[in-house]
């Protein structure tokens, strides 16, 4: 059994956990007081030592990202928090904003001070009305107390403001440069990189973009100390530190969101969620949001190099390997957002693939031809497969389309759409072929 951790989620179960009174009684706003007494560079060192790998999906070390920020002679710097949480299967940032908004505000203050920003924008997807309300309430409470404003805590001449910005219902705005365009009041189309946001970000100024959970970790990191925080993780040796939120959804008995030290295995998380529903067996798991390729229980983790710190899991099922940024990459997938989607035996995988292909076709921003057209072609092929009108040739075309997308687009959406689609076809080829042969879905009573 996994031991629940209570660092990011420390206040979740307290009465009225979203209020300033509760937050402060539990020790809130002490980390920022400490931060304001520190040199910004020292705070960044602590974040580096904490090995907080970006919680938004890409896993970039947060401290390193902060260190890219250089003071500009004329332009101000900004912090932008990515609260767009739209990756299918992801439901963790919402819990922070709804249950402990002050921890995010405190994190914004620490991060702003460390990177030299005076203004932070939290970009929240519009649908999360409760989260937005709780964040605004928290901001107003903090401002009324003089925590935010001209002289935070009356102690330091370092003005700090935090604002909530509202999205418009477009998944692509979770991509950080699309988010910046959207924040600026434009269509949410991703930008070419470079330049990176640290050079040219919000309003053309140096900007750090981090995920909600990443930023909410800043307070605990300072209070515990970066190295101590990192060591909590099973994967500390892989520079994948601390604790974080994990979610399980789909075909399990008790879906949910919990905090653990980094590195639980897929099997441990399955157990945490009460196992596969109705006593079924697990067929497949999408490990970290729909853009991460699906993993099957019989797949073996392969790391023959004895010098690698990952060698100890060589030969094990990928479901028994601690989930981390590097381990999931070796397993042939990605860690992503740490929210698992579980698919039980008895589910038609053509329908699964079709559902997600529809999502990606719908959400492509359309700027790049390979992504715009490719997601449409993949959807059409899967639709034909499902109706029983597909052919083997079309099945093979999926690989061609996917390779035409990967590496040929402005943003990582393309890969996030193509990789999983291709993986479904590769790993469940027999099911696609059965649809072609039977001229329709051969699995009567599929539970999707």
């Amino acid at each position: 059994m996994l031991q629940p951790q209570k660092i990011i989620s420390r206040n979740y179960d307290l009465p009225e956990s979203w209020t300033l009174a509760t937050f402060e009684k539990a020790g809130g706003y002490q980390a920022i007081r400490k931060a304001l007494q520190m040199e910004p560079a020292k705070i960044i060192d602590e974040m580096k030592a904490a090995n907080v790998r970006g919680r938004g999906g890409a896993g970039f070390p947060m401290g390193v990202k902060w260190s890219f920020m250089r003071p500009h002679p004329t332009k101000p710097a900004y912090l932008v928090v990515n609260a767009d949480e739209g990756e299918p299967g992801t439901h963790k940032d919402r819990t922070i904003m709804e249950k402990d908004p002050h921890s995010l505000i405190e994190g914004c203050m620490i991060a702003s001070y460390a990177i030299g920003a005076h203004v932070a924008y939290i970009y929240v997807r519009d649908e999360l009305h409760l989260a937005k309300q709780r964040l605004w309430d928290a901001i107003h409470e903090a401002r009324a107390k003089g925590y935010l404003g001209q002289r935070p805590f009356g102690a330091k001449d370092y003005p700090l403001e935090v604002y909530v910005q509202t999205g418009g219902g477009a998944y692509i705005c979770g991509e950080e440069t699309a988010l910046l365009n959207s924040l600026e009041g434009k269509r949410g189309e991703p930008r070419f990189k470079p330049p990176f946001p640290a050079q040219v970000g919000a309003f053309g100024c140096p900007t750090t973009v981090n995920n909600v959970e990443s930023i909410a970790s800043a307070g605990p990191v300072l209070l515990l100390g970066g190295a101590e925080f990192s060591k909590l993780s099973r994967l500390h040796a892989l520079n994948d530190g601390g604790s974080r939120l994990y979610g399980v959804n789909g075909h399990v008995d008790t879906p949910g969101t919990w905090e653990f030290n980094c590195g639980p295995t897929i099997n441990e998380l399955l157990e945490q969620a009460g196992g596969v529903s109705k006593g079924r067996k697990v067929k497949a798991v999408i490990p970290g949001g729909s853009s991460t390729p699906v993993l099957l229980p019989h797949e073996i983790f392969h790391m023959p190099d004895e010098k690698s710190p990952m060698h100890e899991w060589h030969g094990k099922s990928v479901y028994d390997v601690p989930m981390g940024v590097d381990t999931m990459r070796v397993a042939g997938s990605m860690l992503g957002t740490c929210c698992l989607t579980v698919i039980a035996e008895g589910t038609c995988m053509v329908r699964v693939a079709l559902n997600l292909a529809r999502f990606y076709r719908h959400e492509s921003c359309g700027q790049c031809t390979p992504c715009r057209e490719g997601t449409g072609w993949i959807l059409r092929i899967f639709e034909k497969m499902e109706r029983g009108e597909g052919t083997l040739r079309e099945l093979d075309e999926v690989a061609e389309i996917a390779s035409g997308i990967v590496g040929n687009t402005i943003c990582a959406f393309g890969e996030g759409a193509a990789g999983p689609a291709l993986t479904f076809v590769k790993k469940f080829r027999k099911e696609f072929e059965a649809h072609i042969e039977a001229k329709g879905c051969p699995y009567k009573g599929s539970i999707l």
Binding site: P88, T90, H91, G168, Y171, G185, F203, G247, T341, L356
Partner: protein, 161 residues
């Protein structure tokens, strides 16, 4: 008739503008605010936002058409979004959508003839651990069953089929 925000909204617009170094950044917040009053982003709303922010009308139209939550035509008094992305679909989200369509006698994207409800499917609403779910106006309804759904629709005043 040109669009006029209510006095409270006019005040809120001032407050919103104070948040940014660039007026243009208020585009999405203003569209949301005006849509809340008007129900949709009419030509008048678009014109108002463009003038207020000193933006070309085409820019605002471009924004309205990019984002799914800006209504390009009038909608019902209540708006329902049923999530049908994979995690919800694995727990009955698609059936829920069909149930809604059947009960209301309309399809995904349509409004009931009495103008009460606009029904739409949604992509993942970050609520997959409490699937299946739907959003009604600003509220989430989670762990839904067909019976629970009927109850919600009835409370909205819908004529169930």
């Amino acid at each position: 008739m040109p669009f006029e925000p209510t006095p409270e909204r006019a005040k809120e617009i001032e407050e919103i503008l104070s948040r940014y170094p660039l007026k243009q950044a208020a585009c999405l917040p203003l569209l949301h605010l005006c849509q809340e009053q008007e129900g949709w982003c009419s030509e008048e709303v678009i014109d108002f936002v463009a003038r207020r922010l000193e933006l070309p009308t085409a820019h605002v139209v471009g924004v309205v058409t990019f984002y799914t939550l800006f209504n390009q035509k009038p909608v019902g008094k209540h708006q329902i979004w049923v999530c049908r992305t994979l995690p919800c679909a694995l727990r009955g989200g698609e059936d829920l959508l069909h149930h809604c369509e059947h009960r209301l006698g309309i399809h995904d994207g349509e409004t009931t003839p009495d103008g009460l409800i606009t029904l739409r499917s949604a992509e993942c609403l970050a609520s997959c651990a409490t699937a299946p779910m739907m959003q009604v106006d600003k509220a989430y309804h989670e762990n839904l069953t067909p019976e629970g759904l009927d109850e919600i629709l009835t409370k909205l005043g819908a004529n169930l089929r």
